[in-house]
């Protein structure tokens, strides 16, 4: 079976060949996204949002936005305040932009940090296997047991002063396991492949094999997972902020804006405070997920659309 399946994919035909196994994976990814109108649209939207958010926030002064203005509390959207103001008289649009930037930054930071930890941990465990794997897996098991949300909430209650970095670190500390497990299992498979064995017989060092041979072959998987994780992490951050365990209001975040809706007055009468943030979260998560799903399809030959 092995034989015939692979033979089918002779010279030009990489139809049946797992795209993770081919350098043109990127091309396929590109092709897949372009073909998938929704994903393409999502990608463009996402890019626009990111550029806008980071671009516009350069011209915004966070201090100024979070400055309380007693005389413009809960103003409806108007020319001076495109999206009105909140109960502190603060400009919602500005908060939305900065909040999105903060939420995105945390999401990205957490994703990258969990990614790096997870990749290294998973690669080492999977590649070396045996006792090392055993020990690392026990550590990982332990982290898996921790009820994430609760521990983070307890943690946040303790850390006296937090910044984007320290908040991200807390989240990272309890979120790296998923990717580590994934990478480990893939690395376990990958290291059995002959090309790794071949490198060993050719005298390449383990470290070099791990990072220059195995890692690139897991890259599309990593990209896919990290993309999907990014969405999840943004969701988590806003969830925590929503519960009141995120940032103080002086550091706007999307979750904080949504959490204003827990005041039924705001929920009912002041849509401009929370609806834009909710929609933005949804749009962000949807587009990131769409892109992620398209990437996933691109790397999974069976699901590819064409």
């Amino acid at each position: 079976m092995e034989t015939s399946k692979i033979e089918l994919s002779n010279v030009e035909g990489d139809k049946n060949l797992n795209a993770t196994k081919s350098p043109s994976g990127w091309k396929i990814i590109g092709r897949e996204i372009v073909r998938d109108k929704l994903a393409l649209f999502s990608l463009i939207l996402l890019t626009v949002i990111i550029i806008l958010v980071y671009g516009v926030s350069l011209f915004l002064n966070q201090e100024e936005i979070v400055t309380v203005d007693l005389f413009s509390i809960h103003e409806k959207p108007s020319e001076t305040h495109i999206l009105g103001t909140d109960y502190g008289g603060r400009d919602v649009f500005g908060q939305l932009i900065i909040g999105t930037r903060n939420s995105l930054s945390i999401g990205i930071l957490v994703t990258v940090m969990t990614g790096v930890i997870g990749i290294i941990f998973g690669l080492v465990a999977g590649y070396f296997g045996g006792t090392i794997d055993n020990i690392l897996m026990r550590i990982l098991d332990f982290f898996m047991v921790l009820p994430f949300l609760m521990i983070v909430i307890v943690f946040v209650a303790i850390v006296p002063k937090y910044s984007i970095l320290s908040f991200s670190l807390i989240m990272t500390a309890f979120l790296w396991m998923g990717i580590a497990r994934l990478i480990r299992s893939k690395a376990l498979q990958e290291k059995e492949l002959d090309y790794v064995q071949a490198s060993k017989t050719l005298g390449t060092s383990n470290l070099k094999i791990m990072f220059t041979q195995v890692l690139p072959n897991l890259s599309s998987l990593i990209i896919v997972t990290m993309t999907l994780n990014l969405a999840a992490n943004i969701g988590l951050e806003s969830g925590l902020s929503f519960l009141g365990f995120g940032f103080p209001e002086s550091t706007p975040s999307l979750g904080t804006l949504v959490s204003y809706a827990r005041n039924p007055q705001t929920l009912e009468f002041r849509w401009w405070v929370w609806v834009p943030a909710s929609v933005l979260i949804l749009v962000l998560m949807l587009s990131i997920n769409n892109v992620g799903q398209a990437l996933k399809r691109a790397t999974d030959a069976r699901q590819r659309r064409g």
Partner: protein, 310 residues
């Protein structure tokens, strides 16, 4: 003094289990194998799936840990290749079974072939480029192949890339683990021919692992037959094919389909006879655990696993 000598090689894999991964038993993948190969010859290792052929090859090149026994290469013990001198490590190379998985799909052909050179030889970019081009030409690929990726090649071409990589360091011994079993007949022919060519050209010694007796007969000078981690018979090509002694060998040989349709009824009959004999005399040839006995010489080239006389 043989070029490669393997003495009572054992490779046992622990069966792990339990929370702390304790050893709960062993898979005796290779269980006391001895053979030797002369320089410039091709030695064939045959047996059914799971008989330990691959493990033997991998143990020699250091991919599997040797449980006990000795491997002598050119007179030097190389049981632990990691500690063996660099020269020896570069003298033994391997060709893998699956031409698809043995090449890193994310690397260009030039990088793949240059990998051993980068590990062992300090070459400038230019020199390296030159060597790679030479090797590519040597294995009969077009020069522009070097910038391509493995998936742009057919199975046979990929196997040649694998071979180019293996010979880049001018090794003396090549372990070829089923180099053609993943290939179509037509492509298989191409690779086998090529292997024979470079053997002559570079004076290589092959340890050729296969389960296809046809291929083995075509390629090898001497042959060892494995069964459940042990040798059942070894000898020259003639010894094995014309004068098989062990019932297992006979059965293997009889199972090879005959390419001449006119022979088929005789062949079937012969096969059934052998089968009958196999069933009847199984206990004679195998010990109580169903494993082969120690090898006994029947001629100075021919060894068969038979119970000790007496």
């Amino acid at each position: 003094m043989s070029f490669l000598e393997v003495n009572d090689l054992k490779v046992h894999f622990p069966i792990r289990g339990g929370f702390f991964g304790g050893t709960q038993g062993y898979v005796k993948a290779v269980d006391g194998v001895s053979f030797s190969i002369e320089k410039g010859k091709t030695y064939g290792l045959v047996g059914e799936s799971g008989s330990g052929k691959t493990t033997t090859g991998r143990a020699i090149i250091g991919l599997n840990k040797i449980t006990s026994g000795k491997v002598l290469f050119d007179g030097q013990e190389i049981n632990d290749l990691h500690r063996a001198s660099k020269d020896i490590r570069r003298d033994i190379q391997m060709i893998f079974q699956d031409p698809y998985s043995s090449l890193n799909p994310k690397k260009r052909v030039s990088d793949i072939i240059a990998e051993p050179l980068r590990n062992y030889e300090k070459l400038t970019k230019g020199e390296e480029q030159k060597r790679v081009q030479e090797l590519i030409e040597l294995v009969g690929l077009s020069p522009e192949s070097s910038v391509k990726y493995p998936h742009e090649f057919s199975g046979g071409q990929r196997q040649r890339i694998g071979i180019a990589r293996a010979i880049a360091l001018k090794p003396k011994l090549i372990i070829a683990d089923e180099p053609v079993s993943a290939l179509d007949v037509s492509v298989q022919a191409q690779v086998l021919n090529f292997m024979q060519d470079i053997q002559k050209e570079l004076g290589l010694t092959y340890l050729f692992i296969s389960h296809d007796l046809g291929v083995i007969k075509h390629m090898c000078d001497e042959i060892g037959i494995m069964y459940k981690g042990r040798y059942v018979e070894s000898g020259t090509k003639e010894d094995i094919f014309n004068n098989p002694q062990h019932i297992y060998t006979k059965r293997l040989v009889a199972a090879i389909p005959d390419i001449n349709p006119r022979n088929r009824s005789q062949h079937l009959q012969f096969r059934q006879e052998v089968k009958k004999e196999y069933e009847q005399s199984f206990n004679k040839y195998f010990d109580s655990e169903g494993l082969a006995y120690q090898l006994q010489p029947v001629s100075n080239t021919h060894l068969v696993a038979l119970p000790e006389k007496g």
